[in-house]
């Protein structure tokens, strides 16, 4: 996939298909350690123990509409291509945690992409699900929580079109403020 936000969209769709009511997405960029970590944790139905070790095999899927599932295999390969890796932990009835790490400054690392759009679509498309989005760049952090948003919005539902716009802008501004999405060597070269 061309952007990490598309991987996130794909994996959160898995969480929603697993009946998750709460999805936490955490991204951490560490310039000092040259590392980018993406973590997605849900409270969905979980993956059977015997399946967990096989979820990165594209021909192993819980889908009934087609015989292949590419979300986790592609995410794992994307991470490995950039000197990283991916792990999946899951417990039936408790949920699933997917964590992938990448070399931050690797040339083949996909850019973050439009995280604001991705989160906006997920939030407004699934107003009953609680989403937590947290993004850290070294010491700086941005956080968006839909339970808090719901309180602030009062009678306005999360699937109101204005919410999509708000989420997009808020994330866009928030990520800019913490300096997210930088490729240090490219930034230096293009100075």
């Amino acid at each position: 996939m061309l952007e990490l936000s598309l991987h996130i969209m794909d994996l959160v769709q898995n969480s929603l298909a697993a009946g998750a009511t709460r999805v936490e997405i955490r991204i951490e960029e560490s310039l000092g350690e040259d590392r980018l970590v993406i973590e997605i944790q849900d409270d969905g139905k979980g993956i059977p123990k015997e399946m967990v070790s096989r979820v990165t095999d594209p021909f192993v899927t819980s889908r009934t509409t087609r015989p292949v599932g590419l979300g986790l295999p592609l995410f794992k390969k994307a991470a490995e291509r950039c000197g990283g890796g991916m792990e999946v932990q899951s417990e039936i009835g408790r949920g699933t945690r997917v964590v992938a790490w990448f070399q931050l400054d690797h040339l083949d690392r996909a850019p973050l992409g439009n995280i604001g759009e991705t989160m906006g679509v997920l939030i407004t498309g699934n107003p009953k699900v609680d989403f937590i989005y947290e993004h850290r760049v070294d010491g700086k952090a941005y956080r968006l929580e839909t339970p808090e948003m719901k309180k602030a919005l009062g009678p306005v539902p999360l699937n109101d079109p204005a919410v999509l716009d708000f989420v997009r802008r808020d994330i866009e501004d928030g990520l800019r403020n913490i300096g997210a999405g930088i490729f240090p060597s490219v930034a230096k070269l293009l100075k």
């Binding site: 061309l2 040339l107 083949d108 850019p111 490219v186 070269l189 293009l190």
Partner: protein, 114 residues
Amino acid sequence: MKLQEIAERLRLELKTPKVPLEAEVKTGYASDLLSDVLAHSLEGDLWVTRQTHLNIVAIAVMRDLSGILLVSGAEPDPDTVEKALEKTVPIFRTSLPTFEAVGRLYQLGISGKR
């Protein structure tokens, strides 16, 4: 063939106005993996890709490529265009997919010989 003529013959949309299109292009390279382009492109290549982010400009600068052709209707990110203008890297866009774009370039005499 000059970039200008290639752009006219293939009806490419230029995303970086005012960047000179005088470079003579003899060869091209097609890949979406930036490390691959860094390793295997040649100076003066016209690079065909679906990638749109800022890093493509860095690759073009590092390898002294003649230009970048974005395929499948891909739009460059705003900061990509901004930096390409600053570094005078021509960026073109076409609705053609990679296979078709490369085929037409080949018909114009642009080869992929290494």
